[in-house]
């Protein structure tokens, strides 16, 4: 059966750590960093369950700063 595999790329320097993408992801793929911060001093979003991502783009749609690019690939 065809399956959608997704991947996200977060512009971590643009990210403000608002956490809205983390909340929007139905599959808990994303999380904010615990200690690591970007140059602005924000914890930023990153993939913690990358394998699970379906590329639904919910995270990117709700991101107020347009930090997330989403890729999707159909696999057999």
């Amino acid at each position: 059966m065809a399956k959608m595999k997704g991947a996200t790329v977060v512009d971590t320097e643009r990210c403000k750590g608002c956490n809205l993408c983390v909340v929007a992801c139905p599959l808990d793929v994303l999380a904010l960093t615990g200690k690591e911060v970007n140059r602005k001093g924000y914890n930023f979003a990153h993939e913690v369950l990358a394998d699970t991502c379906t590329g639904c783009a919910s995270c990117a749609t709700v991101c107020p700063d347009g930090c997330i690019t989403v890729y999707r690939l159909k696999t057999e």
């Binding site: 595999k5 997704g6 991947a7 790329v9 512009d11 643009r14 403000k16 750590g17 608002c18 956490n19 809205l20 909340v23 929007a24 602005k40 924000y42 993939e47 990358a50 590329g55 783009a57 919910s58 990117a60 749609t61 709700v62 991101c63 107020p64 700063d65 347009g66 930090c67 997330i68 690019t69 989403v70 890729y71 999707r72 690939l73 696999t75």
Partner: protein, 257 residues
């Protein structure tokens, strides 16, 4: 299948609209303004109006909107964006002209300009970011602040006996003969964001078809002013704002006119 392979062989299904440039936006983390900026940029791009748009920015947190969306802009005096938009559109009818205003700007100091521009059936769109507070100046009460809602200038909550009732500008706009499309949207979820984008597109199209004035209210959060996390602010908005500010179209005469 590795992440790298998906990125290399896969399709881009979402990226920041090209019209929204790389300048970091000054908005607080999680602010609704950013989401609406993205939608406006996407719609202008999709309509092919990049070189034919004049936007008017307000006084309020969105005062610097012109730094982020790469179209032509004018920056209006506080509340006067609809008057400036009227002038621009009359001088340049083939331009897509819209204002982008907060509730303090539109529903307080600019109430008269807003109502009259809408009722003159100026072929413009007003994007109205209603976060029920003066965000930029530190979270003071606005005419749109809900009863019971706490702000810096009503620390015990807005009270009818002291502050009167919250103002529903969008309902007023719907009663005006000059308006074509009047709608209230929000951007707290993927579904809501998709609906808001369609509404902005419709309003922009009607304005270009000369069908009159259009108002798209976006019920928004100001998590800093409300003193909540962005996530909590969205929840609070769902539980409190939508009860008073009902979402949906209030008027749409564009399809028949």
């Amino acid at each position: 299948m590795t992440r790298e392979e998906i990125i290399e062989k896969g399709q881009v299904v979402y990226k920041k609209p090209a019209l929204l440039n790389d300048t970091p936006m000054h908005y607080c983390p999680g602010c609704s303004h950013g989401v609406v900026h993205k939608l406006v940029a996407e719609v202008i791009e999709e309509m092919g109006m990049t070189d034919k748009t004049v936007a008017i920015s307000p006084v309020g947190c969105a005062v610097f909107a012109y730094k982020y969306i790469d179209v032509d802009w004018q920056e209006a005096a506080h509340g006067r964006a609809p008057a400036l938009a009227s002038a621009v559109k009359r001088l340049w009818p083939d331009r897509l002209v819209f204002t982008y205003q907060g509730d303090g700007d539109l529903a307080c100091i600019g109430t008269a300009e807003t109502i009259h521009a809408l009722n003159r059936a100026e072929n413009i769109t007003i994007i109205f970011i209603n976060n029920a507070i003066y965000g930029m100046t530190g979270g003071q009460m606005a005419p749109t602040t809900l009863l019971g809602m706490k702000t810096a200038t009503c620390p015990y909550g807005r009270e009818v006996s002291l502050h009167g009732y919250p103002l529903k500008m969008t309902e007023i706009a719907a009663t005006l003969d000059g308006t074509c499309y009047v709608t209230r949207q929000s951007v707290h979820s993927v579904a809501a964001i998709n609906r808001a984008k369609k509404a902005i597109r419709k309003a922009f199209e009607y304005s270009m078809q000369g069908k009159g004035s259009n108002l798209v209210e976006i019920v928004s959060t100001c998590n800093s002013g409300w003193k909540m996390s962005p996530e909590k602010a969205n929840k609070w908005m769902e539980e409190n704002m939508f009860e008073f500010y009902h979402l949906g179209d209030l008027k749409d005469t564009g399809a028949v006119k």
